[in-house]
């Protein structure tokens, strides 16, 4: 796969006429590049765990027999699934700070709020994944646990949950990869993560004379490569977890 990637980049270089290893460019671009990557990772450090917590809690709550709990949450989920994340991000960043007491208002807070909104957005999708995981565990498991005298809570904890979580991991890997890509949305509200800082750098190239336009392709190819590596790493990490805890015979039922 590494060979294929290098081959592909070489082909792209020839077709679009750029040099990916241009040292002049990298001397200028590297700081933004690195800062962008670091910031992306920091955003991910907040968004990924938060979205998982939201997703799990909402997913759990939605299978509870109380409609009073599950209906409002269904509205929450349907809202975030029906609206493009970018629009929620934009308005969260603009309107969010005004909900806070005056001394906290700043653009930085806006970006944080936008990141939190992204966590909610992914959380909505993850709640569906966890919910499906819970529902995939056969009802007989709960019955059997209760017939041993376990309370519903104990049965959930020792029998249903371990199985539901194992079943949820593969689709979760996919969703985490999406979150990695979603961080790029923060650029539009001023976040200087990888996409944002690269975009600004690109604008500088475009508007200053004498700079080679082909540098743009170098930048974006490099950026694409980094995202590719990050999504791959995230999915592989979850696949490794899946392999570690995998039990033969416990597979999701394809519906």
């Amino acid at each position: 796969m590494a060979v294929g990637t290098i081959l592909f980049i070489l082909v792209l270089q020839t077709v679009l006429r750029f040099n990916i290893l241009d040292p002049v460019l990298w001397a200028l671009y590297f700081p933004s590049f690195l800062d962008g990557i670091v910031l992306t990772l920091r955003y991910l450090g907040i968004i990924l765990p938060l979205s998982a917590v939201i997703g799990f809690t909402v997913g759990w709550a939605r299978i509870a027999p109380f409609r009073t709990l599950s209906w409002p949450l269904s509205v929450f989920v349907d809202f975030f699934r029906g609206v493009p994340p970018i629009i929620v991000v934009i308005f969260a960043a603009v309107l969010g700070p005004s909900l806070l007491p005056a001394r906290f208002r700043s653009q930085d807070i806006g970006i944080i709020i936008a990141a939190l909104t992204l966590a909610m957005h992914s959380g909505a999708y993850q709640s569906e994944i966890f919910r499906a995981g819970f529902m995939s565990v056969p009802r007989g498991q709960l019955e059997a646990a209760q017939s041993l005298g376990m309370t519903r809570g104990a049965a959930m904890r020792y029998v249903v949950l371990p199985q539901a979580l194992r079943l949820s991991i593969p689709p979760l890997a996919n969703e985490f990869a999406v979150v990695v890509k979603d961080t790029s949305l923060l650029a539009i509200v001023g976040g200087f993560e990888l996409f944002g800082s690269s975009f600004i750098f690109e604008q500088q190239i475009l508007f200053s004379p004498g700079n080679q336009l082909s540098w743009i392709f170098v930048v974006w190819t490099a950026v694409a490569l980094v995202y590719f590596v990050m999504t791959f790493a995230v999915t592989e990490l979850l696949n490794a977890i899946d392999r570690r805890y995998h039990v033969k015979g416990l597979e999701a039922v394809t519906v």
Binding site: G4, F8, L16, F66, R67, T68, S70, W71, P72, V75, D78, F79, R81, G82, V83, P84, P85, I86, I87, V88, I90, F91, V94, L95, S98, L99, Y125, E128, A132, P171, N174, E175, A177, V178, K181, D182, S184, L185, A187, I188, F195, F199, E202, L206, L213, S214, I216, F217, W220, T221, V223, A224, Y227, F228, T231, F232, A252, V253, T254, V255
Partner: protein, 299 residues
């Protein structure tokens, strides 16, 4: 007990919604005059979103179908194919018949199939592994560099359609591949056993079923692409719904109204469609036959 639960649920849901809307409207002001005056413009912008989405969707479907097909065909790695053919050629040489030409010919065909398949795999992997933002900007940069004198609106439109087409093509190929493969296995065997050719089996057995299987995910993909089209806001020159809402908000300062209108229109389109698809999937579900969830374009 059940009735109480339902009534309480409705109460709580509407209550929370009303409270949130009230707080927001109070805080940022809700000008109903603005909404009443501008909503046709928003609808026009929505129309552009749909327009862009639909073009990209159907061209992408062509790409996706071809790629999905290519990726669902079983191709062995080159080394194994060569080893098998070598064995055959040795056996044939003893009997003294077809020569190097035929042997090389088959190897050639197999290696073509293999590399075509690998290229398709690479394409889909790139689409799925990189953010749509990056894809759009990449194409946009290419368009600007190679056609600098084009009108910005057209530049934006062209890049947007190309990027969205490529994106949905990748995701749709996954859908088609899954559809073909789900039906494939034992049914092709059975079809050939009653005398159908490989192509005949494909045409009369696999495809009719695959078509039925892919319709729900393809519909979801359309909705996903519509939401993805909002990312054209980064280009700025295409007045689709999100871009329009954003510029309206910052120009007129009716931020919350703009937000409400944009969100409202998206929900108006996506919510009914996804619910209908969910209902169809639930109703016509055959246990054990289906395509697993998210394979749709998402950022």
């Amino acid at each position: 007990m059940r009735i109480v639960d339902i009534l309480l649920a409705i109460l709580v849901t509407l209550g929370i919604l009303a409270y949130i809307l009230d707080v927001l409207a109070l805080r940022w002001g809700l000008s109903t005059t603005y909404i009443a005056k501008s909503y046709p413009n928003y609808l026009k912008a929505a129309w552009i979103s749909l327009y862009v989405t639909t073009i990209a969707y159907f061209i992408g479907m062509g790409i996706g179908f071809v790629l999905g097909w290519a990726r669902s065909v079983q191709t062995l790695p080159l080394a194994r194919v060569m080893a098998a053919r070598r064995r055959e050629a040795v056996a044939a040489a003893d009997g003294g018949s077809p020569g190097a030409g035929l042997f090389l010919g088959t190897v050639f065909v197999y290696s073509i199939k293999y590399y075509v398949r690998r290229t398709a795999d690479a394409y889909v992997a790139i689409i799925r592994g990189t953010p749509l933002f990056v894809q759009i900007v990449f194409v946009w940069s290419a368009v600007i560099v190679f056609y600098p004198r084009l009108d910005p609106l057209f530049q934006g439109l062209l890049s947007g359609v190309i990027a969205l087409t490529a994106n949905t093509g990748g995701y749709q190929s996954e859908i088609f591949r899954a559809g073909i493969q789900t039906v494939h296995s034992g049914q092709v065997e059975a079809a050939r056993a009653i005398g159908l050719s490989r192509w005949g089996a494909m045409r009369y057995i696999v495809l009719p079923q695959a078509v039925r299987l892919v319709i729900p995910p393809l519909t979801n993909e359309y909705i996903g692409l519509l939401k993805a089209s909002s990312l054209l806001a980064v280009v700025g020159s295409v007045p689709e719904l999100t871009t329009f809402g954003r510029s309206e908000a910052f120009q007129t300062f009716h931020i919350f109204e703009a937000f409400a209108l944009v969100v409202g229109i998206y929900l108006l389109i996506t919510f009914p469609v996804s619910k209908v698809v969910e209902w169809i999937e639930r109703r016509y579900r055959v246990p054990g036959l289906g395509i697993q969830a998210p394979r749709t374009a998402r950022v």
